[in-house]
């Protein structure tokens, strides 16, 4: 089942719905413009209602863009119906045919393509083998567990050898453990087939652990596109920083950048430095410094950039999460190797410092 990888390109794609009751316009997707490279797995990440599903459905042909163009493998497919494009979707609710058994579900697309019966049989068994369901071929989908149903849906999509695989929160109906297993499974299959895949999720861990690149969306806008480490370490907005991981924000006046590239800022009258900055942050304006828990450390009271009182400690084995109530809100500090250190007790006053090389200046929202 080796497949030929193709790129997917969206050119200024917008989708506006009209609310059937109030007749108000809903801008589900606005000016989405990006390219997904051949063989890449890209996730669409964002809070509920930000337009992820709509974007995916436009690529699959289930919705018509209000504006813009969609290209798959260089061909304009904007107006092609779903059955006219080489995409295959794994639906959130799976969409298995309840009146067909597992084998016939997987064979459906091949029968539509009128392949010879023998080839259909072979390919179905191979696809079922790929997802580890060979034994259950004659079950009806109603009598499968959630994870098994999910794998049938995956096999059914893969067996037609689509150019692009679309997955809409395929794991949201599964329990945590199964979710992790299936995540690995999907990634393995996608890589081994070299298929271009677009994966929708609102779970940042899923997005981080699965994808080559992540597209973060909010209110229909694309906020940032980048590799998982890029959007975690170098977000360019407060929203992305907050959405992809735990983070503390300090409002500052961004004054200038020195010759080494450090950003000179003022935080409540104190001078502080930050290792890098987002593009939108301009010297001479108000800005925000973001610090991840692992770039923060606890100090004795009176030292560092902020003061606070320890409110909760959560022991996680290799590390400990310490929540400190400060005038900037509750800040999470990650302390590694907790066994080797004395850590302030709950209720104790502490200071907070950060690793200047790791923190980042972001423009104000």
């Amino acid at each position: 089942m080796a497949m030929q990888s193709v790129p997917v390109r969206l050119e200024m794609v917008s989708k506006t719905f009209r609310d059937p009751k109030t007749k108000a316009e809903v801008h589900a997707v606005r000016d989405a413009d990006f390219e997904i490279r051949p063989g890449e797995l890209v996730t669409l990440l964002g809070p509920s209602g930000c337009g992820k599903t709509t974007t995916l459905r436009m690529i699959g042909g289930f919705e018509l863009p209000t504006k813009g163009k969609i290209l798959i493998g260089g061909n304009d497919v904007t107006y092609l119906p779903p059955n006219g494009r080489q995409t295959a979707t794994v639906f959130q609710s799976y969409g298995l045919f309840p009146h067909l058994n597992v084998r016939d579900n997987v064979a459906y697309g091949l029968k539509i393509r009128k392949l010879p019966a023998q080839e259909i049989d072979q390919r179905v068994m191979r696809a079922l083998g790929l997802v580890g369901l060979s034994e259950l071929a004659s079950r009806s989908p109603g009598r499968l567990s959630g994870g098994q149903q999910q794998r049938v849906a995956l096999a059914r999509s893969l067996v037609v050898e689509p150019q692009v695989l679309l997955l809409d929160e395929p794991l949201s109906n599964l329990d945590a453990l199964l979710r992790e297993q299936m995540r690995v499974e999907i990634r393995r299959i996608q890589k081994s087939l070299g298929i271009t895949a677009i994966y929708v999720t609102h779970d940042r861990i899923e997005a981080m652990s699965l994808s080559d690149r992540v597209i973060v969306m909010k209110n229909g806008y694309i906020k940032q596109i980048g590799s998982p480490s890029e959007i975690y370490e170098r977000p360019n907005s407060v929203f992305v920083a907050g959405f992809v991981g735990k983070v503390a924000f300090f409002p500052v006046d961004f004054e200038a950048q020195d010759e080494k590239g450090f950003c000179l800022c003022v935080l409540s009258g104190k001078k502080v430095k930050a290792g890098h900055k987002a593009e939108g942050a301009i010297p001479g304006s108000k800005a925000v410094i973001m610090a991840r828990p692992e770039s923060l450390r606890l100090l004795p009271s009176g030292e560092g950039i902020a003061e606070g009182i320890v409110s909760t400690k959560v022991y996680l084995g290799s590390s400990m999460e310490v929540f400190v109530t400060t005038s900037y809100g509750e800040i999470l500090v990650q302390v590694d190797d907790p066994a080797e250190k004395r850590i302030a007790d709950e209720g104790e006053k502490v200071g907070i410092g950060f690793n200047e090389a790791l923190v980042r200046v972001l423009p104000q929202d």
Partner: protein, 727 residues
């Protein structure tokens, strides 16, 4: 761009084709006139004295033509006008120096007929005018000529028809081609077009014709029909009669229905299944059957009234008998509605009330009844509208009591006053529409039932033992009465002459089945044709309504649902009005019956399909599209199997309701395409109760058979329903 080009090319081809047809038609027509002219000219008499008699004789022989004869040619000596049609004479005197006429005279002098280029209006009609020479004996010179004028309006109406056809062909082409090129989903586009065409032609158009007829008098707008109807006490009496009957029936039906529903939903009575099955029998039983058995029991020569009690002044015909029959046939509607209502009321509420030390009676009066009240009211309205639309029962049983549905039937078939009939059946729509809007605006707002959510399956016995026994007694007696009614029909089959001679016989069977065979066969055939058509159309319409968005969707849905609300008599009358003339000359064919069945049963099928489809996760169909299936394939391989229960039940309802139809089809049947129910009616009217019983029993059997079959088929696909929705 491509679209515009293709349309232009088609338009050019279209124009060329039709103008060719028109030209060749014109040519043959001119040829015909010329041939006629030659023949006439040759028959001219020698003797100038006979000329006048000959000309007037011609006008009698050739109707539609007029003639004017002249001796010699205008520039010759001795030229004179011999006479003929006065209007042609006038025309000749006006036009004799016109260039076209001079040319014509020229031709005539060379012994050639000539057809004038323009088509003058003579005597108010467009005419083709020919000048034909009358040759001398030797045949070398013209001794005179005839002006022949023939009616050109027929040919010009043919030309107009050709033009219309040409436009229609172009419209169909561009519409179809447009759908195919501009839509991502041409099959859906075609389905929408076809459904629209069907409902416009067979719902909107006939109703429009019916309304139009009541508003026209000799081609002009006039309210005279309505003035006549509303000023006539007879008709107003019939309106009041319908309303009165409706109120009686609705009240009794709702009461009995409520008692039954209460017994089933709120007591621990035994044999609930049997009671439910029995109570639903009258809904599906053929028309006339209950009326027939009431007449057998309580009629003038009835078993009970005459034989057992020997009553003299009692008559079942009239309001009382009608109320009784309608109540028995319609209380199941109330029962089914109210059973649903009571089931939807969470019985924890009643438990809570009794827990707070309310007695059972107090609980019933203060909790159950108020909660059920909107449901009770809407079931009353439902029965009321059904009673108004009822035609079969009053037809046999109204006696001197007048109701609108029968009155409009008599106007149409007895008096041949179609406009009055149409107006009366439209009048019938008034109370129905009122009830509908009351239901919409008031009852649905008052409804609390939906709020309480999940129905509770646990049963609380809301009647104390004494009350329960009374309720049970009532239910059992009513059930026995229903069984007895059906028993009477069966008994009627075996009796020689009901009312007079109760000896056992089997003769009824052979006679009824021989005389009813043709009707039975034609009914089964036509219902059988209508069934799959209605089933498929209903499911296609359901898919469009639930899954697709397109302009005019609400209108389409509304038009499909319309026949559900309008009384059958109105449908029947509007069909004879709309389809007794071209372009859709259907009256007298079997097609009109099939169309009628399909149109009238589409609403029920659509509702069922919509309800089922709403339960199905749309991503199942999207998955199929994604895997390469087009709309038609999705419909065939995914949707139909999934909505199979709705599909099957919609088909069986169509079949049964078509087999048992009366009100609309009584206007539409013909000697060739008769209907079994009308045959039953005829037998009953002629007091051949034995024969009517046999046919009724046969019909009941067929109905039961079809429903049994439906049950089995649906049960086979029951396992699906549980897994259809994964969401």
């Amino acid at each position: 761009m491509l679209f515009v080009m293709a349309c232009l090319i088609f338009l050019a081809a279209d124009l060329w084709m039709f103008s060719t047809v028109r030209n060749s038609f014109d040519k043959t027509m001119v040829q015909n006139i010329k041939t006629l002219a030659v023949a006439i000219a040759h028959s001219a008499p020698e003797d100038p004295g006979d000329i006048e008699g000959w000309v007037s004789g011609l006008a009698d022989t050739y109707k539609g033509y007029s003639f004017y004869y002249m001796l010699g040619l205008p520039w010759e000596d001795g030229f004179r006008e011999a006479g003929g049609d006065e209007e042609l004479k006038k025309y000749w005197s006006e036009k004799q120096d016109a260039p076209d006429m001079l040319e014509a005279l020229d031709s005539v002098s060379y012994l050639e007929s000539y057809i004038l280029k323009d088509k003058p209006r003579i005597g108010g009609l467009a005419r083709n005018v020919v000048l034909a020479p009358v040759p001398n004996e030797a045949g070398d010179t013209a001794v005179g000529f005839v002006i022949i004028a023939s009616d050109a309006s027929r040919t010009s109406s043919f030309a107009r028809l050709l033009n219309a056809l040409m436009l229609i062909a172009f419209a169909i082409f561009s519409l179809g081609f447009g759908v195919a090129t501009f839509s991502r989903d041409p099959i859906t586009g075609y389905a929408i077009l076809v459904l629209f065409a069907i409902v416009v032609a067979f719902v909107a158009f006939p109703l429009f014709e019916a309304v139009r007829l009541t508003l026209m008098r000799e081609g002009k707008f006039s309210l005279s029909v309505w003035k006549a109807i509303l000023g006539n006490t007879q008709y107003l009496k019939a309106l009041w009669g319908s309303v009165q009957l409706g109120m009686h029936t609705a009240t009794f039906s709702t009461f009995i229905g409520f008692v039954f529903a209460f017994a089933v939903a709120r007591t621990s009575m035994k044999g609930k299944k049997i009671v439910t099955a029995l109570a639903t029998m009258p809904v599906i039983s053929p028309p006339f059957s209950l009326t027939l058995s009431i007449i057998l029991l309580f009629g003038n020569n009835g078993l009970i009234t005459k034989r057992l009690l020997n009553l003299q002044n009692f008559t079942i015909y009239g309001l009382g008998g009608l109320t009784a029959v309608q109540t028995i046939s319609m209380f199941p509607i109330a029962f089914l509605t109210l059973q649903g209502v009571l089931h939807a009321i969470d019985s924890t509420l009643e438990d809570a009330s009794m827990d707070l030390n309310a007695s059972r009676w107090q609980t019933f009066a203060r909790v159950t009844l108020p909660l059920a009240l909107p449901g009770i009211f809407s079931s009353w309205l439902l029965v009321f509208t059904n009673s108004l639309a009822d035609f079969a029962n009053p037809l046999l049983l109204s006696g001197s009591y007048r109701v609108l549905s029968v009155e409009s039937y008599i106007e149409v078939t007895g008096m041949n006053r179609l406009a009055n009939g149409a107006a009366l059946s439209i009048l019938l729509l008034l109370p129905t529409l009122t009830a509908f809007f009351v239901q919409r605006s008031w009852v649905s707002k008052k409804s609390f039932v939906v709020v309480t959510g999940k129905p509770s399956t646990r049963l609380s016995d809301l009647a104390n033992p004494a009350t329960r026994r009374i309720i049970e007694g009532f239910v059992v007696l009513t059930s026995i009465f229903i069984v007895a009614l059906y028993g009477t029909i069966v008994a009627g089959c075996f009796v020689k002459n009901w009312g007079f001679d109760y000896t056992f016989t089997l003769a009824n069977f052979s006679e009824a089945l021989t005389r009813g065979k043709a009707a039975l066969l034609s009914t089964i055939t036509l219902a059988g044709i209508a069934t799959p058509i209605a089933g498929i159309l209903a499911m296609v319409a359901a898919v469009l309504v639930v899954r697709k968005n397109f302009p005019g969707k609400r209108i389409l849905e509304g038009l499909i649902m319309t026949p559900f609300a309008i009384p059958g008599t109105l449908v029947g009358i509007s069909y004879i009005l709309a389809f007794n003339k071209p372009p859709l000359l259907l009256v007298g064919t079997g097609a009109i019956l099939v169309i009628n069945y399909v149109i009238r049963e589409l609403p029920v099928g659509l509702e069922g399909g919509v309800a089922t489809l709403r339960q199905i996760d749309p991503s199942i169909e999207e998955a199929a599209a994604d895997l390469g299936a087009d709309q038609a394939t999705i419909f065939r391989t995914v949707i139909l199997p999934l909505i199979r229960p709705a599909f099957i039940s919609s088909m069986s309802y169509t079949f049964v309701r078509s087999m048992t139809a009366v009100s609309a089809i009584i206007f539409l049947i013909s000697a060739r395409w008769y209907h079994i129910t009308i045959q039953i009616y005829n037998f009953s009217e002629n007091i051949r109760f034995g024969l009517a019983s046999v046919l009724s029993t046969t019909l009941i059997f067929i109905v039961l058979l079809v429903f049994g079959l439906m049950r089995i088929l649906i049960r086979q696909s029951e396992h699906l329903e549980k897994t259809v929705s994964t969401r």
